[in-house]
């Protein structure tokens, strides 16, 4: 009997600590291009903070900004360019730039169309897929290659990567970090220096769990975080 009461009490206590997801979970909205690096950082953060669960939501930055504007429960927002984050500035604390990225030409493995640089993308018969100008990778694309006539403008950089990896396009403009997936070959081009994306990160104003969220942002900005990002191919701000 006493045992049963103790057990019940223990269960209740357990529920007590477990019932506050706001205290033990951090929800991070991050640009699709951060998938690999933030997933690695998530593991480190959860190891250093036992019992904490980081929930990552990866998508195109513009889509995430739209979700935040519509009241999604995010603690942290990491976007792929400053324009996108400026669009939801009202919902965010002051952003800090934590990484930079630039474009590269992704081609199917083995480069069947023999692309060597930006000039080849305008060759007749070459199928090129890029991001739509409304999303950060597309804005960068328009800056470095304004005269490009793509076969399709995709909604985010992963969609471009998928089409190239599947061989349905001869080339696509993606971030250098995305081209490292191993599914495509990358051809760097000097013009890409004209559009370097700054990646800002910020706490949301209504962050359900601000203290823990701040720790995650600190991790991203720390040398551990920076090393992880550099390993993924990002530049330092």
């Amino acid at each position: 009997m006493i045992k049963a009461v103790l057990l019940a009490a223990a269960l209740l206590a357990g529920c007590g600590t477990g019932a506050g997801p706001a205290e033990t979970t951090v929800t991070v909205f991050a640009a699709a291009s951060l998938t690999e690096s933030f997933t690695a950082l998530e593991k480190g953060f959860e190891t250093d903070n036992p019992g904490v669960d980081v929930r990552l939501n990866f998508a195109g930055s513009s889509a995430l900004a739209q979700q935040i504007a519509n009241g999604a429960d995010a603690d942290v927002f990491a976007a792929a360019d400053e324009t996108t984050i400026a669009r939801v500035a009202d919902h965010l604390e002051n952003p800090a730039v934590f990484a930079t990225n630039h474009l590269t030409i992704a081609v199917p493995r083995g480069n069947p169309a023999r692309i060597t640089g930006l000039a080849d993308l305008t060759r007749p018969g070459v199928t090129v897929v890029v991001c739509a100008p409304q999303v950060p990778c597309g804005a960068a694309t328009r800056k470095v290659a304004p005269g490009l006539r793509p076969a399709s403008e995709e909604q985010d950089v992963k969609a471009v990567l998928t089409k190239v990896a599947a061989g349905e396009a001869d080339a696509g403009l993606v971030y250098v970090t995305d081209a490292r997936s191993g599914k495509v070959d990358a051809i760097d081009f000097p013009e890409s220096a004209a559009a370097v994306n700054n990646y800002p990160i910020a706490l949301t104003k209504q962050a359900p769990n601000a203290p823990l969220a701040r720790r995650f942002v600190d991790l991203v900005l720390s040398s551990t975080g920076q090393n992880e990002l550099v390993r993924a191919g990002f530049g330092k701000p």
Binding site: V135, S152, E153, Q155, E168
Partner: protein, 257 residues
């Protein structure tokens, strides 16, 4: 009818009507005309109407005969075929788009052959949009026509045949006239479905203004950056949908199975 049915019925109606009200309330009606006459929206509307019309014609000239075969042919396996034809109705359209891509894309066997033999590449073209729309819309026509054929029975056709009419004459003078109402409703439904097609199109055809970016794709693109524009184009789609239902034979739609 038990009066209590009113409760779920009203809730059901609310699920259909309230979201449209939400759209209207949030809409920037003052600038609506500006939004829907933007070059992107005009290109998308034109493309949507053109492709939906073409895929409706394809649905009719391919799906019509298919319905007749499914309803009248006495060959083993017809029941299995009937189930297969229903697949696009049940499948998520994005799966249909992937399937089309791996058939007609460069890596697909048919796409590869077409490229080698004729230099024809289907993905990223307006033709790809029409194919995707036909894929998802055809079952609506086939199911409607086949049901009507079964209901009508074969009496008149049999009589015409005993009077000496050849099969083609029977088809032309008896079967088709009997089916006219069902053809009307099938055409309306498949046009509406083609107009709303999104998942298969974006997967298989991509998204490019004037070539493959139909109205639903335009809404999706704007939804992330220009919400007022997205809502305006959505309202345009609602208007076109209402026009399709109201103008094009409301009774025919009601009679559809």
């Amino acid at each position: 009818m038990p009066g209590v049915l009113w409760v779920p019925a009203v809730l059901g109606l609310a699920i259909v009507v309230l979201p449209l009200v939400g759209l209207l309330v949030r809409a920037d009606l003052g600038n609506w005309v500006e939004h829907v006459t933007s070059p992107g929206a005009v290109a998308a509307l034109g493309l949507s109407l053109r492709t939906a019309a073409m895929s409706t014609v394809l649905c009719l000239i391919l799906g019509g005969p298919l319905a007749v075969v499914l309803a009248r042919a006495r060959v083993p396996g017809v029941r299995v075929l009937r189930a297969v034809v229903l697949l696009p109705l049940v499948l998520p359209p994005v799966v249909g788009g992937l399937a089309l891509l791996y058939l007609l894309g460069r890596s697909g066997f048919a796409g590869h052959a077409l490229d080698l033999a004729f230099g024809v590449r289907v993905p990223y073209t307006t033709a790809a949009v029409v194919i995707a729309q036909t894929f998802v819309a055809m079952p609506f026509l086939v199911v409607g026509l086949e049901g009507a054929l079964r209901t009508a029975g074969e009496r008149y056709e049999a009589v015409a045949a005993t009077l000496g009419a050849r099969p083609w004459t029977v088809f032309r003078r008896v079967t088709v006239p009997l089916l006219l109402p069902a053809i009307g409703s099938g055409v309306v439904l498949s046009f509406a479905r083609a107009l709303g097609e999104f998942g298969a199109t974006i997967t298989f055809a991509g998204s490019l203004e004037g070539v493959t970016r139909t109205l639903p794709l335009q809404v999706y693109l704007l939804g992330e950056t220009d919400v007022d524009g997205a809502i305006a184009v959505s309202l345009l789609l609602v208007l076109v949908a209402i026009a399709v239902i109201v103008v094009a034979r409301p009774r025919a739609v009601e009679r559809a199975p």
